[in-house]
């Protein structure tokens, strides 16, 4: 692995500070302040600024500095932003909105996969579901997570729509976050295992409607689990 680059460390620090709310929107930063606070040169501060700008976290304005943008401007679908926010306050809200996005996308993606997946992809899906069942009976969360991520990524990428494929990193981040933050049961509930198998077999059989329904049920289960875990704060 490449040694952790300097600008990445600074980017992480500043990105976390902004997404966590420690630095309020409207606050003006300057290249010099970033440089001195993190003991880096203007060059590095400048590159960090460009990356933050690309993430929609700041906007650079002459004579003013780097203005922190309101949350509506953030690229909340970028994996880095998701990771930062999952580690900060508002974690529950984050998981709720991302799960709702999954609810919108993954059923259609499963239907697409049932139509477009290659033979190898169909076989791997069935294999993954079977291995998840085996691992699920034990309590190995990290290995189970890897299979879970792989399965959803495979479904999204095999959907025949690269826009869905681009959301694979989002789903992976959500699954990883849910596990690492201790929001997963010690042992997967049997329903989840059943539903994963149902999706895999429907896709393998090329049954798009069944795949869509099975995936909808799966994500719906996750939504319900989140709703009960986190008392809903409705804004009527």
């Amino acid at each position: 692995m490449p040694p952790p680059a300097l600008h990445n460390a600074v980017l992480d620090a500043v990105g976390r500070a902004i997404t966590s709310g420690d630095v309020a929107p409207g606050t003006p930063l300057t290249l010099e302040s970033i440089g001195t606070q993190h003991h880096v040169s203007r060059t590095v501060a400048r590159e960090v600024m460009r990356m933050l700008e690309g993430l929609g976290l700041v906007r650079s304005r002459r004579r003013v500095g780097l203005v922190v943008l309101p949350r509506e401007e953030w690229n909340v679908l970028d994996p880095r932003v998701i990771r930062w926010r999952l580690a900060g306050p508002g974690r529950d809200e984050q998981l709720r909105t991302l799960t709702e996005l999954r609810h919108a996308v993954e059923p259609l993606a499963a239907a697409g996969a049932a139509r477009h997946a290659s033979a190898a992809e169909r076989a791997e899906l069935v294999d993954l579901a079977a291995r998840m069942r085996v691992l699920g009976s034990r309590g190995d969360l990290t290995d189970f997570l890897a299979l879970d991520v792989r399965m959803h990524e495979l479904l999204l990428r095999a959907s025949g729509n690269e826009m869905f494929g681009a959301l694979a990193v989002v789903v992976a981040e959500v699954l990883a976050g849910r596990t690492h933050l201790g929001l997963m049961p010690a042992s997967p509930v049997p329903e989840a295992l059943d539903q994963h198998e149902a999706v895999a077999h429907a896709v393998a059989a090329g049954d798009a409607p069944a795949a869509e329904a099975a995936m909808a049920a799966l994500v719906g289960e996750v939504r319900r689990a989140l709703d009960t875990a986190t008392p809903a704060e409705e804004t009527p």
Copy 2:
């Protein structure tokens, strides 16, 4: 308006070259080659590189240069990437996949808006739909586009889910691309106007299922129009 920054011009040029396929994945660029080809200093080339890296178009490796990544790694949901690709080859495929994404997301977003939108947002939606009908009877495409974009953006942002809101820029880019590329009828079809009004009124009335259905019909209409315009190239 701020004067077009130098690095943005270079970013645009290189980004277009990569997304259009003129520079194949795996091709190694160097900071120096970028600098000399576009007559900019290493500083600017470096910032361009960081932005391209943020878009997932390249990965920088020492002693190798900037390796162009395969399409699966691209941030295909980033507005800049979308704009570049809509202007290059594969425009039809791009519109198809983005429309399918809209098909997944916008109905759920409309349902969310029916539940969470503020009074002002509901009023603006109804007003927008009415003005679209007025403008639609004439042939003013650019003004109509502005209303169309505003309405979909409003729906996505009022959905109560910021992930949907983040896709507003995507939808705006699609609508703008469809219009600017001459893929819109000279005068909007009456069905589209009806459906926009149906969505607006359902949201205003707080009828989430009706809003979801109306939006599904609207996007479905778009998909059908695209399918007939572009003979489907199925991969059975």
